[in-house]
């Protein structure tokens, strides 16, 4: 855990500093020392303090364990590195699918995009292509019925606009 604490502490401190710097550029209110920058600054200082505390305690822990001769890496993750790499790749694929959904939703339309995204997700979770399609096509039309036809959510049609009803 000390290793992740080290990194998250570092990230939090840097992120807090970034917010603090941005917040200091906000204008203040007439007649008051407080302005729009106050609350972001409080959050930023909080993040920096928490980050620094995490960083210091992680460094202390790491220092002690190093002195004791035990490697922290070994206790952090027992899984072989091959598995961890695969997990990372699957995560990245999922993020790409969601990002693709966001990018394609308006130009391609809801139907094409969600069939593609759901098929891809189902493949990612280990369904074969035929079954993935058997899932994604009815699901898309079910969601269309529920959200577009029943609840009147204006789902975009995109390339399917000529077929819109």
């Amino acid at each position: 855990m000390a290793r992740t604490d080290l990194w998250s502490g570092l990230l939090l401190t840097l992120f807090g500093a970034l917010i603090f710097w941005r917040a200091s550029t906000f204008p203040s209110m007439a007649g008051l020392v407080y302005g729009p920058g106050l609350f972001p600054s409080i959050a930023a200082v909080g993040l920096m303090v928490c980050g620094a505390l995490l960083l210091v305690s992680a460094l202390v822990v790491q220092g002690r364990t190093m002195a004791a001769g035990a490697s922290d890496r070994a206790e952090a993750d027992h899984r072989p590195s091959m598995d961890r790499r695969r997990a990372g790749a699957r995560l990245a694929a999922l993020v790409l699918i969601v990002a693709g959904f966001g990018l394609a939703l308006e130009p391609l339309g809801f139907h094409v995009t969600s069939i593609l995204a759901i098929t891809a997700t189902a493949r990612l979770f280990g369904l074969n292509l035929l079954r993935a399609l058997c899932l994604s096509v009815p699901l898309t039309f079910g969601v269309h019925l529920l959200f577009y036809s029943v609840m009147h959510v204006p789902l975009p049609w995109g390339v399917m606009t000529p077929l819109a009803w």
Partner: protein, 508 residues
């Protein structure tokens, strides 16, 4: 309650709507990522075609059941269906993993039903009395109330104090995004107009809870935990649930009453009621160390508190027209659309509305039991759906649900960004709950702080000058002192553990 109201409540039209909305609320609440607020928001177009009194019943029935049904995906998938179930999701999931999902959910259902009924009885009894106190609340009191809510979120979390605070500050930062309340300066929007209103809450919740869960499922891959087994028949589970409830009947009573009172405070809804009652329950329990590891007691408290709070939330809505939570905010909108303005006069001008509301609450809480049992019986089917089929479905509902709230692709980006954040936070041991409370209450805290500062012309002492403000402020400072002591104790414990371990390892 007069004969007219009773006849109207038991009319075929009203009964059909109540039954349909009970089912609808249960189904929407049971879908991870679809919240009670969203269920009501999606119901709004239909209420245009309804009699205003029926519309009120529809809203009440939907929220009541959706808040309970939020426990179902919480217990089975570790994704709270609504934020109100987040407080005890860990306990519910651990119990389900041990094969006790049915009795756990039945306890939730019955506790929710009792809590809901207690909530509406209290609403009918004490609304005027509470109103007299709260009518004097100014921005100072509201500021302390929201701050106290935030501090409680840190106090109730099971993670280290530093990480809980870090999570809270992340939430507060997210709440800062958008146009600021004081001078209207856009903050951290990077020129995106869609962000001027701030990060929409529902996409944020869907990202933090639903997408991060799908990401966790994707990253575990074939190492996924075995699906939850059900080792109880329905009658067995019923008996077990009844025993549990009668053992913890004092908890039900305490949390139903406390939940109603918390819900009645403006800005504090079902989720905060559940958090606070869970924390109180842990404090007074004989086994506080079991909380968060699959202990039913916290579920009894949280489950009755969040449903009781729904009734409570109507108190400020009815008396002042100030919504107690996001659901009543929508409901007030519907009342206004129908030409009725909530406020002290509604009790004299439109008493039938108030009476219908009470009646609808009572009936929804009773109807919820058979519908809930049916859904719990079927929930084993939900569990048997393999992850590779379930996760794509949850993903599509999450994305479309987020889109439906804002009608803009920005919702998808919010889901993605907060999904990654939620996954990273969980993976490195940061609790999610303080961040969510930060997002919900950040705006309220800031708005009331700024208003108070403008009123007092920059004097901080004004925050303690009014009696209620002083009491709430002192309570908040007490919680902070306690948290500081706990953080110091945690640090001391870690130091000791290290110095005890170090000599053992040295010979190597």
């Amino acid at each position: 309650m007069d004969i007219d109201t009773l006849l109207r409540l038991f009319s075929p039209q009203s009964l059909t709507v109540l039954a349909l909305c009970t089912l609808y609320g249960t189904l929407i609440g049971a879908m991870p990522g679809l919240t009670a607020t969203m269920a009501v928001a999606l119901l709004v177009p239909f209420t245009y075609f309804m009699d205003p009194l029926v519309a009120i019943s529809a809203i009440v029935a939907t929220t009541t059941t959706a808040i309970f049904a939020g426990d179902i995906p919480g217990a089975l998938l570790r994704i709270p269906g609504t934020p109100a179930s987040a407080a005890y999701v860990e306990d519910a999931f651990q119990l389900s993993s041990a094969g006790k999902s049915r009795s756990t959910l039945l306890v939730s259902l019955l506790a929710a039903s009792i809590g809901g009924i207690v909530g509406v009885v209290l609403l009918a009894l004490i609304a005027p009395q509470l109103a007299r106190v709260a009518i004097g609340f100014s921005s100072y009191e509201v500021f302390w109330l929201a701050t106290l809510g935030l501090s409680c979120a840190v106090m109730t979390s099971n993670a280290s104090v530093i990480k809980s605070f870090a999570s809270l500050f992340i939430g507060l930062f997210i709440a800062c995004i958008g146009i600021d309340v004081a001078v209207g300066h856009p903050r951290f929007t990077f020129g995106w107009y869609e962000l001027f209103d701030g990060v929409s809450f529902i996409p944020a919740i869907i990202g933090l809870f639903a997408l991060s869960e799908i990401m966790r499922a994707a990253s575990t891959g074939k190492h996924q935990p075995p699906p939850i087994e059900i080792r109880e028949t329905l009658p067995q589970a019923c008996r077990q649930a009844m025993t549990t409830l009668s053992r913890y009947r004092r908890n039900v009573a305490r949390s139903s009453i406390a939940g109603t009172l918390i819900g009645a405070l403006p800005g504090a809804g079902a989720d905060i009621a559940a958090w606070i009652c869970y924390a109180v329950s842990k404090r007074f329990s004989r086994h506080p160390e079991r909380y968060g590891k699959g202990h039913i007691e916290g579920i009894v408290d949280g489950g009755s508190a969040n449903n009781a709070a729904i009734g409570g939330a109507w108190t400020p809505a009815l008396v002042f027209g100030i919504p107690g939570d996001s659901v009543t905010a929508i409901a007030i909108g519907i009342l206004l659309l129908n030409g009725m303005s909530p406020g002290p006069r509604i009790f004299t001008d439109n008493p039938e509305i108030v009476h219908t509301l009470y009646g609808a609450f009572a009936m929804a809480n009773v109807l919820m039991i058979p519908v809930g049992i049916a859904v719990i019986a079927l929930s084993s089917r939900i569990v048997r759906i393999p992850r590779r089929v379930l996760m794509p479905i949850v993903l599509l509902f999450s994305l479309v649900g987020a889109y439906a709230i804002t009608n803009s692709v920005v919702a998808v980006w919010i889901v993605l960004a907060l999904g990654i954040l939620g996954y990273a936070m969980e993976a490195s041991g940061f609790p999610l709950a303080p961040a969510i409370l930060g997002i919900v209450l950040g705006g309220i805290v800031e708005e009331n702080f700024m208003t108070s500062m403008i009123k007092s012309q920059g004097s901080l002492l004004a925050f303690f000058e009014r009696p209620w403000a002083a009491a709430l402020g002192a309570l908040t400072l007490l919680v902070w002192t306690f948290l500081l002591c706990r953080a110091l104790y945690e640090g001391y414990k870690r130091q000791r553990a290290l110095s005890l371990n170090a000599p053992k390892r040295e010979p190597r």
